[in-house]
Symmetry: D2
Subunit: 115 residues, 4 copies
Protein backbone atom coordinates (compact mmCIF):
# COMPACT_ATOMS: atom_id res chain seq x y z
CA UNK A 1 0.00 0.00 0.00
CA UNK A 2 2.48 2.64 1.19
CA UNK A 3 6.23 2.18 1.54
CA UNK A 4 7.82 1.11 4.82
CA UNK A 5 8.81 4.61 5.90
CA UNK A 6 5.32 5.96 5.35
CA UNK A 7 3.78 2.98 7.12
CA UNK A 8 6.12 3.62 10.07
CA UNK A 9 4.97 7.24 10.18
CA UNK A 10 1.32 6.11 10.14
CA UNK A 11 1.96 3.69 12.99
CA UNK A 12 3.79 6.39 15.00
CA UNK A 13 0.90 8.76 14.52
CA UNK A 14 -1.52 6.16 15.83
CA UNK A 15 0.65 5.02 18.72
CA UNK A 16 1.40 8.55 19.92
CA UNK A 17 -2.35 9.18 20.22
CA UNK A 18 -3.09 5.77 21.73
CA UNK A 19 -5.60 5.16 18.96
CA UNK A 20 -4.92 1.46 18.33
CA UNK A 21 -7.85 0.75 20.65
CA UNK A 22 -10.28 2.34 18.16
CA UNK A 23 -8.87 0.57 15.09
CA UNK A 24 -10.68 -2.74 15.16
CA UNK A 25 -10.99 -4.31 11.69
CA UNK A 26 -14.71 -3.53 11.62
CA UNK A 27 -14.23 0.09 12.65
CA UNK A 28 -11.55 0.49 9.98
CA UNK A 29 -13.95 -0.93 7.40
CA UNK A 30 -16.53 1.61 8.61
CA UNK A 31 -13.91 4.36 8.28
CA UNK A 32 -13.19 3.21 4.75
CA UNK A 33 -16.82 3.66 3.65
CA UNK A 34 -16.91 7.10 5.27
CA UNK A 35 -13.70 8.23 3.58
CA UNK A 36 -14.71 6.90 0.16
CA UNK A 37 -17.99 8.79 0.56
CA UNK A 38 -16.03 11.98 1.18
CA UNK A 39 -13.91 11.35 -1.89
CA UNK A 40 -16.99 10.76 -4.02
CA UNK A 41 -18.50 13.96 -2.63
CA UNK A 42 -15.74 16.00 -4.29
CA UNK A 43 -17.14 14.81 -7.65
CA UNK A 44 -20.82 15.02 -6.72
CA UNK A 45 -23.23 16.61 -9.24
CA UNK A 46 -20.32 17.10 -11.64
CA UNK A 47 -19.98 15.95 -15.23
CA UNK A 48 -16.81 14.19 -16.34
CA UNK A 49 -15.64 17.44 -17.93
CA UNK A 50 -16.21 19.33 -14.69
CA UNK A 51 -14.31 16.66 -12.75
CA UNK A 52 -11.41 17.08 -15.15
CA UNK A 53 -11.46 20.82 -14.54
CA UNK A 54 -11.44 20.22 -10.82
CA UNK A 55 -8.44 17.92 -11.07
CA UNK A 56 -6.46 20.47 -13.04
CA UNK A 57 -7.39 23.39 -10.81
CA UNK A 58 -7.05 24.61 -7.28
CA UNK A 59 -9.36 21.89 -5.93
CA UNK A 60 -6.96 19.13 -6.90
CA UNK A 61 -5.39 19.24 -3.45
CA UNK A 62 -8.70 18.49 -1.78
CA UNK A 63 -9.26 15.46 -4.02
CA UNK A 64 -5.74 14.18 -3.38
CA UNK A 65 -6.26 14.62 0.37
CA UNK A 66 -9.43 12.53 0.20
CA UNK A 67 -7.61 9.83 -1.77
CA UNK A 68 -4.89 9.93 0.89
CA UNK A 69 -7.48 9.40 3.63
CA UNK A 70 -8.74 6.28 1.86
CA UNK A 71 -5.16 5.02 1.42
CA UNK A 72 -4.38 5.69 5.09
CA UNK A 73 -7.28 3.62 6.36
CA UNK A 74 -6.60 0.84 3.87
CA UNK A 75 -2.94 0.81 4.96
CA UNK A 76 -3.87 0.40 8.63
CA UNK A 77 -6.30 -2.37 7.75
CA UNK A 78 -3.78 -4.31 5.66
CA UNK A 79 -1.11 -3.85 8.33
CA UNK A 80 -3.35 -5.01 11.16
CA UNK A 81 -4.71 -8.00 9.23
CA UNK A 82 -1.26 -8.91 7.84
CA UNK A 83 -2.57 -8.68 4.30
CA UNK A 84 0.13 -8.45 1.61
CA UNK A 85 -1.60 -6.10 -0.81
CA UNK A 86 0.43 -7.04 -3.87
CA UNK A 87 -0.22 -10.75 -3.35
CA UNK A 88 -3.90 -10.16 -2.57
CA UNK A 89 -4.37 -8.06 -5.70
CA UNK A 90 -2.62 -10.61 -7.95
CA UNK A 91 -4.70 -13.44 -6.51
CA UNK A 92 -7.93 -11.47 -7.02
CA UNK A 93 -6.87 -10.46 -10.52
CA UNK A 94 -6.54 -14.15 -11.43
CA UNK A 95 -10.12 -14.70 -10.30
CA UNK A 96 -11.30 -11.65 -12.22
CA UNK A 97 -9.62 -12.95 -15.38
CA UNK A 98 -11.66 -16.14 -15.05
CA UNK A 99 -14.88 -14.24 -14.28
CA UNK A 100 -14.41 -11.79 -17.13
CA UNK A 101 -12.93 -13.64 -20.11
CA UNK A 102 -11.64 -11.21 -22.73
CA UNK A 103 -13.92 -12.47 -25.50
CA UNK A 104 -17.04 -11.89 -23.43
CA UNK A 105 -15.90 -8.71 -21.72
CA UNK A 106 -14.25 -6.75 -24.49
CA UNK A 107 -15.66 -3.22 -24.42
CA UNK A 108 -18.46 -4.40 -22.18
CA UNK A 109 -18.68 -3.71 -18.47
CA UNK A 110 -21.55 -6.03 -17.69
CA UNK A 111 -21.23 -7.92 -14.44
CA UNK A 112 -20.19 -11.54 -14.91
CA UNK A 113 -23.68 -12.62 -13.80
CA UNK A 114 -25.34 -10.46 -16.47
CA UNK A 115 -23.44 -11.94 -19.41
CA UNK B 1 -0.35 1.44 -3.79
CA UNK B 2 0.78 -1.78 -5.51
CA UNK B 3 4.24 -2.45 -6.92
CA UNK B 4 5.12 -1.77 -10.56
CA UNK B 5 4.66 -5.36 -11.71
CA UNK B 6 1.22 -5.62 -10.16
CA UNK B 7 0.22 -2.23 -11.56
CA UNK B 8 1.35 -3.43 -15.00
CA UNK B 9 -0.84 -6.53 -14.61
CA UNK B 10 -3.81 -4.35 -13.62
CA UNK B 11 -3.29 -2.12 -16.63
CA UNK B 12 -2.99 -5.15 -18.94
CA UNK B 13 -6.22 -6.57 -17.57
CA UNK B 14 -8.00 -3.30 -18.27
CA UNK B 15 -6.50 -2.72 -21.71
CA UNK B 16 -7.20 -6.27 -22.91
CA UNK B 17 -10.90 -5.74 -22.10
CA UNK B 18 -10.97 -2.20 -23.49
CA UNK B 19 -12.33 -0.99 -20.17
CA UNK B 20 -10.40 2.30 -19.91
CA UNK B 21 -13.50 3.97 -21.36
CA UNK B 22 -15.50 3.08 -18.21
CA UNK B 23 -12.85 4.21 -15.76
CA UNK B 24 -13.52 7.91 -15.46
CA UNK B 25 -12.35 9.33 -12.12
CA UNK B 26 -15.94 9.70 -10.98
CA UNK B 27 -16.89 6.16 -11.93
CA UNK B 28 -13.82 4.85 -10.11
CA UNK B 29 -14.86 6.81 -7.01
CA UNK B 30 -18.31 5.22 -7.35
CA UNK B 31 -16.66 1.79 -7.63
CA UNK B 32 -14.66 2.52 -4.50
CA UNK B 33 -17.78 3.13 -2.42
CA UNK B 34 -19.36 -0.05 -3.80
CA UNK B 35 -16.30 -2.16 -3.03
CA UNK B 36 -15.87 -0.75 0.49
CA UNK B 37 -19.53 -1.54 1.12
CA UNK B 38 -18.87 -5.14 0.10
CA UNK B 39 -15.89 -5.32 2.43
CA UNK B 40 -17.93 -3.92 5.30
CA UNK B 41 -20.65 -6.46 4.54
CA UNK B 42 -18.28 -9.30 5.44
CA UNK B 43 -18.25 -7.89 9.00
CA UNK B 44 -21.94 -6.97 9.15
CA UNK B 45 -23.91 -7.88 12.32
CA UNK B 46 -20.72 -9.29 13.83
CA UNK B 47 -19.05 -8.44 17.14
CA UNK B 48 -15.32 -7.78 17.22
CA UNK B 49 -14.79 -11.31 18.57
CA UNK B 50 -16.79 -12.79 15.70
CA UNK B 51 -14.79 -10.74 13.20
CA UNK B 52 -11.58 -12.09 14.71
CA UNK B 53 -12.94 -15.63 14.32
CA UNK B 54 -13.79 -14.89 10.70
CA UNK B 55 -10.29 -13.62 9.99
CA UNK B 56 -8.70 -16.73 11.45
CA UNK B 57 -11.05 -19.15 9.70
CA UNK B 58 -12.08 -20.26 6.27
CA UNK B 59 -13.75 -16.91 5.50
CA UNK B 60 -10.47 -15.04 5.63
CA UNK B 61 -10.04 -15.45 1.87
CA UNK B 62 -13.32 -13.67 1.18
CA UNK B 63 -12.28 -10.73 3.34
CA UNK B 64 -8.87 -10.53 1.68
CA UNK B 65 -10.54 -10.62 -1.75
CA UNK B 66 -12.74 -7.69 -0.79
CA UNK B 67 -9.73 -5.75 0.47
CA UNK B 68 -8.03 -6.54 -2.83
CA UNK B 69 -11.00 -5.15 -4.76
CA UNK B 70 -10.71 -1.87 -2.85
CA UNK B 71 -6.95 -1.76 -3.48
CA UNK B 72 -7.46 -2.47 -7.20
CA UNK B 73 -9.85 0.43 -7.69
CA UNK B 74 -7.69 2.76 -5.61
CA UNK B 75 -4.66 1.75 -7.69
CA UNK B 76 -6.41 2.58 -10.96
CA UNK B 77 -7.55 5.90 -9.55
CA UNK B 78 -4.08 6.90 -8.36
CA UNK B 79 -2.53 5.78 -11.63
CA UNK B 80 -5.03 7.67 -13.77
CA UNK B 81 -4.83 10.85 -11.67
CA UNK B 82 -1.03 10.62 -11.35
CA UNK B 83 -1.27 10.66 -7.58
CA UNK B 84 1.88 9.51 -5.75
CA UNK B 85 0.25 7.70 -2.83
CA UNK B 86 3.26 7.84 -0.52
CA UNK B 87 3.64 11.58 -0.99
CA UNK B 88 -0.12 12.15 -0.68
CA UNK B 89 -0.30 10.16 2.55
CA UNK B 90 2.68 11.97 4.10
CA UNK B 91 1.24 15.35 3.18
CA UNK B 92 -2.16 14.42 4.65
CA UNK B 93 -0.51 12.98 7.76
CA UNK B 94 1.16 16.36 8.39
CA UNK B 95 -2.27 18.01 8.28
CA UNK B 96 -3.72 15.37 10.60
CA UNK B 97 -0.91 15.98 13.08
CA UNK B 98 -1.90 19.63 13.20
CA UNK B 99 -5.62 18.82 13.45
CA UNK B 100 -5.12 16.22 16.17
CA UNK B 101 -2.38 17.43 18.53
CA UNK B 102 -1.20 14.61 20.78
CA UNK B 103 -2.12 16.35 24.03
CA UNK B 104 -5.73 16.84 22.95
CA UNK B 105 -6.13 13.54 21.14
CA UNK B 106 -4.43 11.03 23.40
CA UNK B 107 -6.80 8.10 23.89
CA UNK B 108 -9.61 10.17 22.47
CA UNK B 109 -11.05 9.75 19.01
CA UNK B 110 -13.20 12.86 18.97
CA UNK B 111 -13.24 14.71 15.66
CA UNK B 112 -11.09 17.83 15.67
CA UNK B 113 -14.27 19.93 15.54
CA UNK B 114 -15.69 18.25 18.66
CA UNK B 115 -12.66 18.99 20.88
CA UNK C 1 -41.15 6.38 6.06
CA UNK C 2 -43.58 3.53 5.51
CA UNK C 3 -47.20 3.42 6.62
CA UNK C 4 -48.25 1.94 9.96
CA UNK C 5 -49.27 -1.44 8.54
CA UNK C 6 -45.98 -1.88 6.72
CA UNK C 7 -44.02 -0.78 9.79
CA UNK C 8 -45.95 -3.36 11.84
CA UNK C 9 -44.99 -6.05 9.33
CA UNK C 10 -41.33 -4.98 9.53
CA UNK C 11 -41.40 -5.13 13.31
CA UNK C 12 -43.05 -8.57 13.24
CA UNK C 13 -40.39 -9.85 10.87
CA UNK C 14 -37.66 -8.65 13.21
CA UNK C 15 -39.31 -9.86 16.42
CA UNK C 16 -40.08 -13.32 15.03
CA UNK C 17 -36.37 -13.78 14.26
CA UNK C 18 -35.21 -12.22 17.54
CA UNK C 19 -33.10 -9.78 15.54
CA UNK C 20 -33.66 -6.66 17.67
CA UNK C 21 -30.38 -7.49 19.40
CA UNK C 22 -28.46 -6.87 16.16
CA UNK C 23 -30.19 -3.59 15.34
CA UNK C 24 -28.20 -1.06 17.32
CA UNK C 25 -28.34 2.41 15.79
CA UNK C 26 -24.73 2.11 14.67
CA UNK C 27 -25.25 -1.29 13.08
CA UNK C 28 -28.32 0.03 11.25
CA UNK C 29 -26.25 2.95 9.96
CA UNK C 30 -23.68 0.42 8.77
CA UNK C 31 -26.46 -1.55 7.06
CA UNK C 32 -27.64 1.62 5.38
CA UNK C 33 -24.25 2.23 3.74
CA UNK C 34 -24.11 -1.39 2.61
CA UNK C 35 -27.60 -1.28 1.09
CA UNK C 36 -27.03 2.04 -0.67
CA UNK C 37 -23.84 0.56 -2.12
CA UNK C 38 -25.87 -2.33 -3.51
CA UNK C 39 -28.39 0.07 -5.02
CA UNK C 40 -25.62 2.11 -6.63
CA UNK C 41 -24.11 -1.10 -7.99
CA UNK C 42 -27.20 -1.67 -10.14
CA UNK C 43 -26.25 1.55 -12.00
CA UNK C 44 -22.49 0.98 -12.02
CA UNK C 45 -20.57 1.62 -15.28
CA UNK C 46 -23.83 2.70 -16.93
CA UNK C 47 -24.63 5.94 -18.71
CA UNK C 48 -27.84 7.79 -17.87
CA UNK C 49 -29.41 6.36 -21.03
CA UNK C 50 -28.48 2.82 -20.01
CA UNK C 51 -29.90 3.41 -16.54
CA UNK C 52 -33.17 4.55 -18.14
CA UNK C 53 -33.22 1.37 -20.20
CA UNK C 54 -32.66 -0.68 -17.08
CA UNK C 55 -35.54 1.02 -15.28
CA UNK C 56 -37.91 0.33 -18.13
CA UNK C 57 -36.87 -3.27 -18.60
CA UNK C 58 -36.72 -6.56 -16.79
CA UNK C 59 -34.09 -5.32 -14.33
CA UNK C 60 -36.45 -2.76 -12.83
CA UNK C 61 -37.50 -5.23 -10.14
CA UNK C 62 -33.92 -5.61 -8.92
CA UNK C 63 -33.53 -1.83 -8.62
CA UNK C 64 -36.84 -1.51 -6.78
CA UNK C 65 -35.79 -4.32 -4.42
CA UNK C 66 -32.58 -2.48 -3.62
CA UNK C 67 -34.50 0.74 -2.98
CA UNK C 68 -36.79 -1.26 -0.70
CA UNK C 69 -33.80 -2.56 1.26
CA UNK C 70 -32.65 1.01 1.88
CA UNK C 71 -36.17 2.03 2.93
CA UNK C 72 -36.43 -0.96 5.27
CA UNK C 73 -33.25 -0.11 7.15
CA UNK C 74 -34.14 3.57 7.30
CA UNK C 75 -37.58 2.65 8.66
CA UNK C 76 -36.10 0.56 11.47
CA UNK C 77 -33.67 3.35 12.31
CA UNK C 78 -36.36 6.02 12.46
CA UNK C 79 -38.61 3.75 14.49
CA UNK C 80 -35.92 2.85 17.01
CA UNK C 81 -34.69 6.44 17.40
CA UNK C 82 -38.24 7.82 17.51
CA UNK C 83 -37.52 10.13 14.59
CA UNK C 84 -40.58 11.59 12.88
CA UNK C 85 -39.35 11.59 9.29
CA UNK C 86 -41.78 14.20 7.99
CA UNK C 87 -40.84 16.63 10.75
CA UNK C 88 -37.14 15.89 10.38
CA UNK C 89 -37.25 16.46 6.62
CA UNK C 90 -39.16 19.74 6.95
CA UNK C 91 -36.74 21.01 9.56
CA UNK C 92 -33.73 20.07 7.41
CA UNK C 93 -35.36 21.60 4.33
CA UNK C 94 -35.60 24.93 6.18
CA UNK C 95 -31.86 24.78 6.84
CA UNK C 96 -31.16 23.88 3.22
CA UNK C 97 -33.20 26.85 2.04
CA UNK C 98 -30.96 29.11 4.12
CA UNK C 99 -27.77 27.38 2.93
CA UNK C 100 -28.82 27.44 -0.72
CA UNK C 101 -30.61 30.73 -1.41
CA UNK C 102 -32.40 30.62 -4.76
CA UNK C 103 -30.51 33.51 -6.27
CA UNK C 104 -27.13 31.88 -5.63
CA UNK C 105 -28.19 28.31 -6.35
CA UNK C 106 -30.36 28.61 -9.42
CA UNK C 107 -29.16 26.02 -11.95
CA UNK C 108 -26.00 25.57 -9.95
CA UNK C 109 -25.27 22.59 -7.73
CA UNK C 110 -22.17 23.96 -6.04
CA UNK C 111 -21.92 23.16 -2.36
CA UNK C 112 -22.81 26.10 -0.11
CA UNK C 113 -19.14 26.34 0.90
CA UNK C 114 -18.00 26.60 -2.73
CA UNK C 115 -20.22 29.57 -3.60
CA UNK D 1 -41.50 7.92 2.26
CA UNK D 2 -42.66 11.38 3.31
CA UNK D 3 -46.25 12.62 3.26
CA UNK D 4 -47.69 14.49 0.29
CA UNK D 5 -47.20 17.96 1.77
CA UNK D 6 -43.57 17.31 2.57
CA UNK D 7 -42.99 15.80 -0.86
CA UNK D 8 -44.53 18.91 -2.41
CA UNK D 9 -42.15 21.08 -0.38
CA UNK D 10 -39.19 18.98 -1.56
CA UNK D 11 -40.28 19.30 -5.17
CA UNK D 12 -40.73 23.07 -4.78
CA UNK D 13 -37.26 23.39 -3.31
CA UNK D 14 -35.79 21.54 -6.28
CA UNK D 15 -37.83 23.33 -8.93
CA UNK D 16 -37.10 26.79 -7.53
CA UNK D 17 -33.37 26.08 -7.86
CA UNK D 18 -33.70 24.38 -11.25
CA UNK D 19 -31.95 21.34 -9.84
CA UNK D 20 -34.00 18.63 -11.57
CA UNK D 21 -31.25 18.53 -14.21
CA UNK D 22 -28.76 17.20 -11.62
CA UNK D 23 -31.09 14.57 -10.19
CA UNK D 24 -30.59 11.66 -12.53
CA UNK D 25 -31.32 8.31 -10.89
CA UNK D 26 -27.63 7.46 -10.83
CA UNK D 27 -26.64 10.80 -9.31
CA UNK D 28 -29.33 10.36 -6.63
CA UNK D 29 -27.95 6.90 -5.85
CA UNK D 30 -24.51 8.51 -5.55
CA UNK D 31 -25.98 11.14 -3.22
CA UNK D 32 -27.53 8.39 -1.12
CA UNK D 33 -24.17 6.72 -0.48
CA UNK D 34 -22.63 10.10 0.40
CA UNK D 35 -25.42 10.96 2.84
CA UNK D 36 -25.41 7.55 4.52
CA UNK D 37 -21.64 7.93 4.96
CA UNK D 38 -22.24 11.25 6.72
CA UNK D 39 -24.83 9.65 8.98
CA UNK D 40 -22.46 6.80 9.85
CA UNK D 41 -19.75 9.36 10.58
CA UNK D 42 -21.78 10.73 13.48
CA UNK D 43 -21.38 7.31 15.14
CA UNK D 44 -17.76 6.72 14.08
CA UNK D 45 -15.28 5.39 16.70
CA UNK D 46 -18.12 5.27 19.24
CA UNK D 47 -19.32 2.33 21.33
CA UNK D 48 -23.04 1.56 21.50
CA UNK D 49 -23.16 3.25 24.92
CA UNK D 50 -21.54 6.39 23.51
CA UNK D 51 -23.99 6.40 20.61
CA UNK D 52 -26.86 6.23 23.09
CA UNK D 53 -25.36 9.19 24.97
CA UNK D 54 -25.12 11.11 21.72
CA UNK D 55 -28.75 10.42 20.87
CA UNK D 56 -29.92 11.67 24.25
CA UNK D 57 -27.72 14.76 24.24
CA UNK D 58 -27.15 17.95 22.32
CA UNK D 59 -25.81 16.08 19.29
CA UNK D 60 -29.14 14.40 18.62
CA UNK D 61 -30.11 17.18 16.22
CA UNK D 62 -27.07 16.54 14.04
CA UNK D 63 -27.94 12.83 13.80
CA UNK D 64 -31.56 13.60 12.97
CA UNK D 65 -30.42 16.07 10.29
CA UNK D 66 -28.27 13.38 8.70
CA UNK D 67 -31.17 10.93 8.77
CA UNK D 68 -33.30 13.61 7.14
CA UNK D 69 -30.73 14.04 4.36
CA UNK D 70 -30.93 10.33 3.61
CA UNK D 71 -34.74 10.45 3.63
CA UNK D 72 -34.74 13.49 1.32
CA UNK D 73 -32.62 11.80 -1.33
CA UNK D 74 -34.58 8.57 -1.06
CA UNK D 75 -37.82 10.53 -1.45
CA UNK D 76 -36.63 12.21 -4.65
CA UNK D 77 -35.48 8.86 -6.01
CA UNK D 78 -38.79 7.12 -5.28
CA UNK D 79 -40.73 10.05 -6.69
CA UNK D 80 -38.71 10.21 -9.89
CA UNK D 81 -38.78 6.45 -10.45
CA UNK D 82 -42.48 6.20 -9.51
CA UNK D 83 -41.67 3.66 -6.82
CA UNK D 84 -44.42 3.11 -4.25
CA UNK D 85 -42.29 2.60 -1.15
CA UNK D 86 -44.93 0.77 0.88
CA UNK D 87 -45.59 -1.71 -1.90
CA UNK D 88 -41.88 -2.13 -2.63
CA UNK D 89 -41.10 -2.80 1.03
CA UNK D 90 -43.92 -5.34 1.40
CA UNK D 91 -42.82 -7.16 -1.73
CA UNK D 92 -39.19 -7.27 -0.55
CA UNK D 93 -40.27 -8.37 2.92
CA UNK D 94 -42.02 -11.38 1.36
CA UNK D 95 -38.74 -12.35 -0.32
CA UNK D 96 -36.81 -11.85 2.91
CA UNK D 97 -39.24 -14.12 4.74
CA UNK D 98 -38.46 -16.86 2.23
CA UNK D 99 -34.70 -16.22 2.40
CA UNK D 100 -34.65 -16.14 6.18
CA UNK D 101 -37.07 -18.77 7.50
CA UNK D 102 -37.73 -18.26 11.22
CA UNK D 103 -36.46 -21.68 12.27
CA UNK D 104 -33.06 -21.09 10.63
CA UNK D 105 -32.76 -17.41 11.45
CA UNK D 106 -33.96 -17.17 15.04
CA UNK D 107 -31.37 -15.18 16.99
CA UNK D 108 -28.92 -15.62 14.16
CA UNK D 109 -27.98 -12.89 11.71
CA UNK D 110 -26.03 -15.04 9.29
CA UNK D 111 -26.59 -14.19 5.64
CA UNK D 112 -28.89 -16.62 3.90
CA UNK D 113 -25.91 -17.92 1.90
CA UNK D 114 -23.96 -18.68 5.09
CA UNK D 115 -26.64 -20.87 6.69
Amino acid sequence: MVNDNVMAALLDFRRQRNWEQFHTPKELAVALTIETGELLETFQWKTDAEVRGLLNGSSRERVVDEIADVAIVLSYLCYDLKVDVDAAVLSKLKKNEAKYPIEKSYGNAKKYDEH
